[in-house]
């Protein structure tokens, strides 16, 4: 057994979770699927005194859809999304992203809420939800609040979550029927941490475009110059290349020329996939 000792509670309500996490002097961590936290406990890079298991909160397992929004409960597993159990998976984008996360046995337990709450720079969901313009619902002792995922994720393993707060779920704007997307990810071995991930989403025909690059900086970054060029006639490969270089320099500066070439490739692949749909 490798983890250092800790205590463990499994509350039955969100209020109890917040009370446990936010107690004076608590060195507590919330655990959902545990697929990232267990390795961190075993390697002793995470050393909580108390684990608060949120796996029993059924309200965090809900998924639903209205005409405008898909709601995805925080405890929805990658495998559930991979298997098409969302009422709408953004024309297949979320299903594709889920299927490429780690390995099936990990996807069976790892959750979308856990992925965003941890905010690993190489994680898939923070960048994907940013590209889709999703909002996160967060609950603490006093309030429930909503925030764009783009603002929620602040940096490497850093979010706006306060000590007593957990993610309840995500509101993803329901895409227009003509919405196109592209997704490109480079990993040295399937299931390993990504070296570069690019998402491109074009809302409807001629609608706004969003391009997000992840695993290139402490947090996923939008590439606004690239997004603006799509559909303007100034979107030849050379035009897009120079826009990508400018956006990377501005938002995710790289020391290594190889990484610049790598990120250019994933962004171009995602854009081509989107344009080919």
């Amino acid at each position: 057994m490798k983890p250092a000792p800790f205590d463990y509670v499994k509350p039955k309500s969100v209020a109890e979770v917040s009370a446990a996490l936010g107690a004076e002097g608590a060195n507590a961590a919330a655990i959902a699927g545990g697929q990232s936290l267990l390795p961190m406990l075993s390697l002793r890079v995470a050393l909580p005194d108390l684990l608060v298991d949120i796996g029993g909160l059924d309200e965090l397992k809900q998924v639903s859809a209205t005409a405008d929004t898909i709601y995805i409960g925080a405890l929805t597993t990658h495998a559930a999304i991979e298997d098409g159990r969302l009422p709408d998976d953004c024309n297949g984008l979320m299903r594709m992203v889920a299927s490429k996360i780690s390995y099936r046995a990990v996807r069976n337990h790892g959750t979308i809420g856990g992925s965003v709450a941890l905010a690993d720079p190489a994680a898939d969901w923070p960048g994907c939800l940013m590209a889709l313009g999703a909002q996160v619902r967060v609950s603490g002792r006093a309030t429930v609040r909503r925030q764009p995922v783009a603002d929620f994720v602040q940096g490497q393993y850093s979010t706006t979550l306060a000590a007593d707060e957990i993610i309840l779920g995500f509101d993803v704007p329901r895409p227009d029927p003509g919405t196109r997307w592209g997704f490109s990810k480079v990993v040295r071995k399937s299931g390993a941490f990504a070296n570069s991930i690019a998402f491109a989403v074009a809302q409807g025909r001629g609608g706004p475009v969003s391009v997000v690059l992840a695993a290139a900086a402490p947090r996923p970054c939008a590439l606004p110059t690239v997004a603006e060029r799509i559909g303007t006639g100034k979107d030849s490969e050379d035009d897009l290349r120079s826009a990508i270089v400018a956006d990377i320099a501005a938002h995710a500066p790289q020391d290594d020329p190889y990484l610049v070439r790598l990120h250019i490739s994933t962004v171009l692949r995602a854009l081509r996939e989107m344009q080919g749909r």
């Binding site: 057994m1 490798k2 983890p3 250092a4 000792p5 800790f6 205590d7 463990y8 499994k10 655990i31 545990g34 697929q35 267990l38 390795p39 406990l41 075993s42 390697l43 684990l51 298991d53 796996g55 495998a79 780690s102 390995y103 099936r104 046995a105 990990v106 069976n108 337990h109 071995k189 399937s190 299931g191």
Partner: protein, 161 residues
């Protein structure tokens, strides 16, 4: 310490455990179910794969206390499983193991693959098996054995057996 009640290989079990005990440690150290092998203990190698409520799981990535009320099945609990029976035979006849360390995890994951994707081609098996590490075989015979097991089960199903 926490009192934990769960089902392991269809038998009700109640034990007092430390919260930091992984399911893998619980199975091996407390229940002496040593078919579940521990390679890396942080989710990289897949040797410790079991099922929880029928779902493939790395038992090193699950605390025992998180399994309260759940049903865990290890390779020891697969003796009369129809899919595992075919897989075991093809692993044997196709020399799909050498030292055997990774084999329990390979078999558990192979069963999961065949339940989700009944007759996978070799490329699909390689993709689906990418989380299981074997340091002896070079994977060729493991992949071939799983493909062959899938074909045998698929053929039986097509024949209405």
């Amino acid at each position: 310490m926490k009192t934990l009640t769960l089902k392991v290989n269809d038998v009700d079990v109640t034990q007092v455990v430390e919260p930091r005990e992984t399911l893998a440690d619980f199975l091996r150290e407390r229940l002496r179910l040593t078919a579940t092998h521990l390679g890396c203990e942080h989710g990289a190698c897949g040797a410790c794969t079991v099922t929880i409520d029928g779902v493939a799981t790395r038992s090193c990535l699950r605390l025992a206390v998180m399994c309260e009320g759940q049903s865990v099945t290890t390779l020891e609990g697969m003796e009369s499983d129809a899919t595992m029976d075919v897989l075991r035979r093809h692993f044997h006849t196709g020399h799909a193991l050498q030292c055997g360390f990774c084999t329990p995890g390979m078999l558990m994951m192979a069963r999961d693959i065949l339940l989700r994707i009944p007759t996978p081609d070799p490329a699909t098996v390689r993709q689906q098996l990418s989380g299981q590490i074997c340091r002896c075989t070079g994977y060729a015979n493991i992949v071939a054995a799983i493909v062959a097991a899938g074909r045998e089960i698929g053929g039986r199903r097509a024949a209405g057996a």
